[in-house]
Symmetry: C2
Subunit: 200 residues, 2 copies
């Protein structure tokens, strides 16, 4: 059985960065919403990515960003549609059966529960998340702290709603995860080393 | 500043075992309710323990158990008393200022917040905690699963109440901890190695 790590995360906590770094450290595949969508749409980049996976050279190759973006995802409306969820689930399952991987978001912890993934939840204090958003995302530059906070809360509410709708579980409830990590002032490198110790 | 690790934990999750193992791995002092009470009462063992700490040979030496015991702690009534809490806080602060240490329970994460401790919360699924109690504690042998579960829930409620009373915070709320670890089916040795990576 492949080694699967799923990451759920609060917006701005650095969950995607943890995922990217972990995949790179372990030299395994990395998937997040952008990549899963590309796989569903069968973009040339996605097809190339799959060829690498099939060749047993699992390296994160799709051009993805870890910076914060506030634009509403283009597939937001669609993601609420059950058909899209089924497509996503199918892509995630194929990925997990193809090779070891890190999967960020998309209810992967629930979809792959029979494969016993190592389930992480990444979170942080609001103050830290605001600072991180200002450092990482150009979109945040023109927003007040209050507006930024409201935007982040709203995004996390959407994630919680999505997760609850498709899994019947409470998003962020530590009972659903193996390890929950508070990234407030934490060293990302140390976090990745620690996770490696848990799973290797 | 000394390296301080505080551990809060659900009853039966193995939090004390994690604490003991971590203190041994790091060769630093270990404190829990039994030891803090012994220090308050100035037992000969406690005095001996302090001498070792003062000699900069911080090793967990007090004869403590990690097995589960269901007896109501002898200081249960006293622990609710503010005077006792103040004595406990004083002993915990002295310990933290004396040397690097692991402190289990007793609101140490809150009492020592100015020393920026690394704050762990250890938890597990109920099914796993019941099995662990049966393995570790002779007291559980004559109890049904239901009775055992009720007893564990009741102990955790008392901990939550104690913590909430003295700190004004919600016990077990991941926002109050740096890392929360689910020990269900986890390898204790790996957990200790992972925590070491976070703090060293």
């Amino acid at each position: 059985m492949n080694r699967i790590i799923t990451i759920s995360r609060e917006f701005g906590s650095g969950g995607r960065e943890v995922g990217r770094r972990l995949a790179q450290a372990l030299t395994i595949a990395y998937y997040d919403q952008e990549i899963v969508t590309a796989l569903i749409n069968r973009t040339p980049e996605a097809e190339e990515y799959i060829r690498y996976m099939a060749a047993k050279r699992p390296l994160p190759l799709l051009p993805i960003t870890t910076a914060r973006t506030f634009g509403v995802p283009t597939n937001c409306a669609v993601a609420k549609n059950l058909n899209f969820y089924i497509q996503e689930s199918s892509v995630i399952r194929e990925a997990a059966e193809r090779s070891d991987c890190v999967i960020v978001g998309r209810c992967a912890d629930y979809i792959l529960q029979d494969l016993k993934p190592f389930r992480l939840f990444i979170y942080a204090d609001m103050r830290f998340k605001i600072e991180r958003c200002r450092e990482k995302g150009a979109d945040a530059a023109e927003m007040t702290d209050k507006a930024l906070q409201q935007k982040m809360i709203s995004i996390d509410k959407r994630r919680a709603h999505y997760y609850q709708f498709y899994t019947g579980r409470n998003w962020g409830d530590k009972a659903n995860y193996d390890v929950c990590i508070n990234t407030t002032h934490a060293d990302m490198g140390k976090i990745v080393l620690a996770i490696e110790k848990c799973i290797l």
